[in-house]
Symmetry: C3
């Protein structure tokens, strides 16, 4: 049984350094054995993968890539919060997906699978199976097309 770190390596995913906390607002808070992770944007090397809206200038595929990038940033934050050891994750409890989109966009679920599928690839069986809510929004910080927040249970 491969560890999350081995699965990430097999997927050729290198987690970025977790972004530093911003003053009064931090990327992860632990309460009991829950980690509450702040909404993450699809930033790669400090740049958004793409800006704009689903249903307009952002394609279905680009949206999925954004949801996946958000989840990679979530993993980076969780790994940092766990002292570098993702094997302490017992369950991805919940993902919340926000899609900046036009009023006639209806394909939120498939775009959000960019995050959910990666959760299933990185964590074995039940560990990666999460509850989720996916909704449209008119706009997101920095004109990002996707933001994903998360809750994890840890050992």
């Amino acid at each position: 049984m491969a560890s999350p770190e081995e699965r990430l390596a097999a997927l050729n995913i290198e987690l970025p350094a977790a972004a530093a906390p911003v003053a009064n607002y931090v990327p992860v808070v632990q309460t009991g054995n829950l980690l509450v992770v702040s909404g993450q944007l699809p930033l790669v090397d400090g740049q958004l993968l793409i800006t704009g809206k689903l249903g307009a200038e952002v394609s279905h595929q680009a949206g999925q890539a954004c949801a996946r990038a958000c989840f990679i940033n979530i993993l980076a934050q969780v790994k940092a919060a766990l002292g570098g050891d993702l094997t302490r994750v017992r369950r991805v409890v919940r993902l919340g997906g926000f899609m900046a989109c036009t009023a006639d966009f209806t394909d939120h679920a498939a775009v959000m699978n960019g995050a959910s599928d990666l959760a299933g690839e990185v964590f074995e069986g039940e560990v990666g199976r999460h509850a989720r809510s996916t909704v449209g929004v008119p706009s997101l910080p920095l004109n990002a097309p996707v933001e994903v927040e998360a809750m994890f249970e840890i050992a």
Copy 2:
């Protein structure tokens, strides 16, 4: 004191079969004594009650019926997660309501009462009294007018 199941029967509500889990994304996750329930749409027999937006083609009353249908689907999922026994619910902790609506719609709270009122009818006293957040969104999966997510505390 009537059980939730007896109250549902008195309301002539028959819970549907809980929809099957979708691959990496599941309807309910238990963490400790919390159940986190994925956002539910107003699906009845696999069809949305209505599509479109509040403030436009979806009336106040149709919106309330949608919020109520979302909560019925939440109950179906919770009941399945509890091995068929809703008496194990100690508290409806939180409902999150998302209303697909026009920019000038302001009646979110009354529409969301379609879900909150049913929570109060099905669960005795404090058990059904929940925290909630209700917001507008430009669009939801499948062009649904309402999506409701939930958190429950169980025995």
Copy 3:
């Protein structure tokens, strides 16, 4: 080390009376040592500070004042739930910010700092440092520009 109440006094903030519970929907639910706080609007003496949307008739500064007012109402609810004693707060776990805005608005994070900064001023060090998610919405109840929900850990 000043108590949260002393810090509020130093900031010249007098917490309002917590709004009474509304039937089936209540401002705060405790589950274990978590307090889940319903979405709060920027109501002061029963009136919204301002109505409308960020990116249109509501300025950046007015939006920040709204986020701050939402957090003051959250504090009032938490204080009431704790029998009047905010020193029982161990951690502001999470804030969720919803900004009613135009589709081209991108400054959600700075507006939400109106709430986050006050959390940092009222609670000492780590206690006030929270996870957060901030998203745009097309509209909010009563045409409010901002709604903030919260989760706290208590002793």
